[in-house]
């Protein structure tokens, strides 16, 4: 049976690891009987599959609630510490070293960097004064210019740097969903074409093999 048309058809329907035939899929195709009876069986199978799809969507509709609850629970646990006080390291990750190295203050590859030596005491002083992260970053931007910030502020034209990746992501999702919807075959039952979606050549080959098997 391996390598036969029925086998290939069964595989193409269910996609099987290591090329094993799924009994249900094969049984539906291997059903003996006249063509009309088989077409009826096919329609019944399609209805069954349609119901299965409905089942999936019903089952899946419960999953997001569960997953969301789990995710929120985990998120609340992992974020339990609340907003952290600024440190030299946390600010150093958000501020660029302006020595020309194109790295953040914490990552400047120049070990004796004069810029790092100048900026770190300023940050340390502001932390000691009890300023919050936003204020410290604002002060540094006033002192050194906006290019000192490792990310541009989310306002004006710079807002687009934050928005566009999200727009790209959502736009891409919309495109994929649109493509999937457009490319999806109409339901054979709804379309009144019970066997239209099957490859006619493959179906004919299956029928031939069925005939041979019945002899």
């Amino acid at each position: 049976m391996r390598g036969s048309a029925a086998h290939r058809l069964a595989l193409s329907r269910e996609g099987d690891p290591e090329g094993l035939v799924r009994p249900a899929a094969l049984a539906s195709m291997a059903a003996p009987g006249p063509p009309l009876q088989r077409v009826k069986m096919e329609i019944a199978n399609r209805k069954l599959q349609k119901n299965t799809v409905r089942n999936i969507s019903q089952q899946l509709s419960k999953w997001p609630v569960f997953v969301l609850a789990l995710g929120l629970g985990a998120a609340s646990l992992t974020r339990a510490d609340g907003p952290k006080k600024p440190t030299l390291e946390s600010i150093g990750d958000q501020v660029m070293c302006l020595c020309g190295c194109v790295a953040t203050l914490n990552h400047c590859p120049h070990r004796d960097c004069a810029t790092v030596a100048e900026m770190r005491p300023i940050i340390a002083k502001e932390i000691a004064e009890g300023k919050d992260e936003t204020t410290i970053l604002q002060d540094l931007a006033i002192r050194y210019g906006v290019q000192v910030l490792a990310v541009p502020p989310a306002k004006g034209f710079s807002l687009t740097v934050w928005i566009l990746p999200g727009v790209g992501l959502l736009g891409g999702l919309w495109l994929v969903v649109a493509v999937v919807r457009r490319w999806r075959k109409p339901s054979p039952v709804a379309a009144g074409l019970p066997t239209k979606s099957l490859d006619p050549k493959l179906l004919a080959a299956v029928e031939e093999e069925m005939k041979e098997l019945s002899h």
Binding site: S12, R13, E14, G15, D16, P17, E18, L20, Q49, T52, V53, N55, I56, Q59, L70, A74, L77, T78, R79, E89, D93, Q94, M96, G100, C101, V102, A103, T104, N106, H107, C108, P109, R111, D112, G145, V146, Q147, L149, A150, V151, P152, G156, F157, S158, V161, W162, L164, P165, G168, L169, G172, L173, L175, V176, V179, V180, W183, R184, K185, S197
Partner: protein
């Protein structure tokens, strides 16, 4: 030698230009003679470029400082190992190296297709040599490494030979830096071959399975090498730059990541075309995008349009690249539009829950990631052009945008292979996903109990477990089935299963490698560091390590002077190891650099840097990083590499099919001969 090298480039350019014309005419006129002539010219291009590379290497190895490039990038006391690498240390040499690698790929593509893809080959040669002609023109006219040094005086210019060269940039004098650029370049350059096949298929309208089958392998090789190059670059940054990390979202790092991501998208979506005859236009778009991004990456690295820590070789070649990139886009997109009628999908999607949809979502995330990284990389330029404001887009932006997308991709790495082609039933979903979800959920709970409170790290580790169970489950199920049907023991079954379908199981191994990479990435969340000035006997604590300074020693080598800190480390009160971070001062280039001391283990790396000497006290300024799970990044990269190698090995089924096709071809030929006689 300078003359010989220049002659090699001039002759190479001439052969490339001839091959473009002969190839295009050979294809148009269906002339086998012209096509063969174009192929021979492409092989001659390879020979001439090899001659030029040998000439430059000879000049470097013999310390011929009369050559400007050698004087700029080498010196007498440089180790031979690094002298060889000086070939790609500067602009001129690296462009010559790029062109030479292109000539190697072209020669291989021609030799391996002597009897295959005959209709495509004339145009493949024309596209390959078109690219070759562009790069050899750049080497010849804009960045020639065979320029001689001369002193201008009242009497005119006089030849000049300095006693020694300026030496190689100190940060490039590291072993992985010798392998990293060639790998990266092999990755970049190799993407020209799939592009050439795609263009040839579009020109000839031969848009069946043939070109896509050929292209897949020619994409996998550079994809694998590019990945290896990126990994080695990370390893170099980790060991040399001394900030305790391996990836900083630098523009040049991003430039190398972009074609790798789009290449990954292509290697997945190509399967839909092979299996279902779908996504034909999309696959051509991905091939074009990947090639474009490869050239764009070279452009970013070489032109200096964006500032980068990796910008070792910059010049005014930007406009030439910009023109070439425009030509690529106009040529390929026009051709694509003209052939849209030939790229119609043969099938439709059967279900939203199917392998095809999984690949579509995978492509969606990968391309969204490409867009986000590209946008962030170019935004400073765009902002300057639009608002005349200089802004910086650094690591925090990329981390915020790329990490969620990376996690979605990680999920698909496990979920995708479990979805069936065409349609997946709910029973199948339940059967395949239940165990991985339960194991991941239970592990997630344990991680929370164990104190993992960093959300992304926790999520990454949960997903890693989910994907690992999914992928290992595929091996387990397949092997179990073989054990029953073929009566093999588990090891035999696993081996035969893998070798029977190397592409599929090689792919699974790649996915496991990705899991290991992500485990390594998650470790970054738990990094700790300490810094202090240390004199003899002083102590510094970092996490559960206690470092004691036993003194400083200084020394001298022909190439550099050094100061080394002698540090003894105890862990939890027990003797652990001795570490010797160095500060080096390279004589030829007069530049200082740090030599980091790393003690790697599977659980964490102890990373010690001698930052400098305290001006007032003379004590060593020591920085210590405890970096958890970094080793898994290197192991994961290696697993990805090995998995890709396995996927490249023809499987037993493929070999059997090839034998059958060969037998059928012979039978047809015999029939033809019989009917002809």
């Amino acid at each position: 030698m300078n003359e010989l090298g220049s002659l090699g480039i001039v002759a190479g350019l001439a052969f490339a230009a001839y091959a473009v014309v002969a190839g295009a005419l050979g294809g148009k006129l269906r002339s086998l003679r012209l096509t063969r002539s174009a192929e021979r010219a492409a092989l001659a291009f390879f020979v001439m470029l090899t001659l030029a590379v040998i000439a430059l290497e000879y000049l470097i190895l013999t310390n011929d400082f009369h050559n400007a490039y050698v004087a700029e990038h080498s010196n007498r006391d440089l180790l031979t190992f690094y002298k060889v690498a000086a070939l790609w240390a500067g602009q001129e040499g690296s462009l010559l190296f790029w062109t030479w690698l292109l000539s190697i790929y072209s020669a291989l593509a021609i030799l391996l297709n002597r009897k295959k893809n005959r209709q495509l080959m004339p145009y493949v040669v024309a596209v390959l040599m078109g690219t070759g002609a562009f790069f050899s023109s750049l080497v010849l006219f804009v960045a020639n490494p065979f320029q001689e040094l001369a002193l201008a005086s009242a009497a005119g210019t006089q030849p000049f030979t300095p006693p020694d060269g300026n030496g190689l940039n100190p940060v490039l004098q590291y072993h992985s830096m010798v392998i990293h650029p060639p790998m990266l370049y092999l990755g970049y350059v190799g993407m020209v071959v799939p592009f050439a096949f795609a263009m040839a298929a579009l020109i000839t309208r031969q848009l069946g399975d043939n070109w896509i089958r050929t292209t897949r392998r020619w994409t996998m090789v550079p994809w694998m090498l590019l990945g290896l190059g990126i990994l080695l670059g990370g390893n170099w940054a980790y060991a040399v730059l001394g900030w305790g990390g391996y990836w900083g979202w630098d523009p040049v790092e991003n430039a190398s990541l972009l074609p790798w991501l789009s290449g990954t998208a292509f290697l997945h979506s190509v399967m839909i075309q092979e299996k279902r005859g779908m996504l034909k236009v999309w696959n051509v778009v991905l091939v074009i995008t990947t090639f474009f991004l490869s050239i764009f990456g070279t452009f970013l690295t070489r032109s200096g349009v964006v500032s980068s820590v990796h910008a070792f070789a910059q010049s005014s070649i930007g406009p030439f690249f910009a023109v070439f990139l425009c030509i690529i886009v106009v040529f390929s997109v026009t051709l694509l539009f003209l052939r849209l009628d030939h790229l119609k999908s043969e099938n439709k999607l059967d279900s939203l829950v199917s392998r095809e949809s999984g690949f579509l979502f995978n492509n969606w995330i990968l391309l969204a990631l490409v867009f986000a990284v590209l946008w962030g990389t170019l935004f400073p330029l765009i902002s300057k052009a639009v608002e005349n404001v200089t802004v910086t887009v650094g690591a925090p932006f990329f981390n915020k945008t790329a990490i969620p997308m990376g996690l979605l991709l990680l999920f698909l790495t496990g979920a995708g292979p479990l979805l069936a082609w065409r349609k997946t039933s709910f029973q199948s979903l339940k059967r395949n996903f239940l165990l991985p979800l339960i194991v991941a959920g239970v592990s997630g709970a344990f991680l929370l109990i164990a104190g993992v409170r960093h959300f992304y790290a926790w999520m990454t580790l949960c997903l890693c477990i989910f994907v690992a169970v999914c992928v290992l489950g595929e091996f387990w199920k397949g092997a179990r089935t073989r054990m029953k049907t073929a009566r093999e023991n588990f090891a035999q079954a696993l081996y035969n299963l893998t070798m029977r379908n190397t592409r599929r199981y090689g792919g699974y191994i790649v996915h496991l490698g990705i899991v290991l990479l992500f485990i390594g990435f998650a470790g970054l969340a738990f990094k700790t560091q300490a810094k202090g000035s240390m004199g003899q006997g002083d102590l510094l604590r970092a996490k559960n390590y206690l470092l004691r300074c036993d003194g400083l020693v200084s020394g001298d080598t022909p190439n550099y002077e050094y100061t080394r800190a002698l540090i003894t480390v105890t862990k939890d009160g027990h003797a652990f190891t001795a570490m010797h971070p160095e500060k080096r001062f390279y004589k030829a280039s007069q530049q200082p650099t740090s030599y980091v001391s790393i003690h790697p283990t599977l659980s964490e790396d102890l990373y010690v840097v001698l930052s400098g000497l305290d001006q007032d006290t003379g004590k060593a300024v020591i920085e210590v990083f405890v970096n958890p799970l970094v080793m898994w990044v290197w192991i994961g990269g290696l697993v990805v590499f090995l998995g890709t190698l396995l996927a490249l090995v023809p499987s037993r089924v493929e070999r059997e099919m090839a034998e059958i096709r060969k037998t059928q071809d012979i039978a047809v030929q015999v029939d033809d001969l019989g009917s002809g006689g």
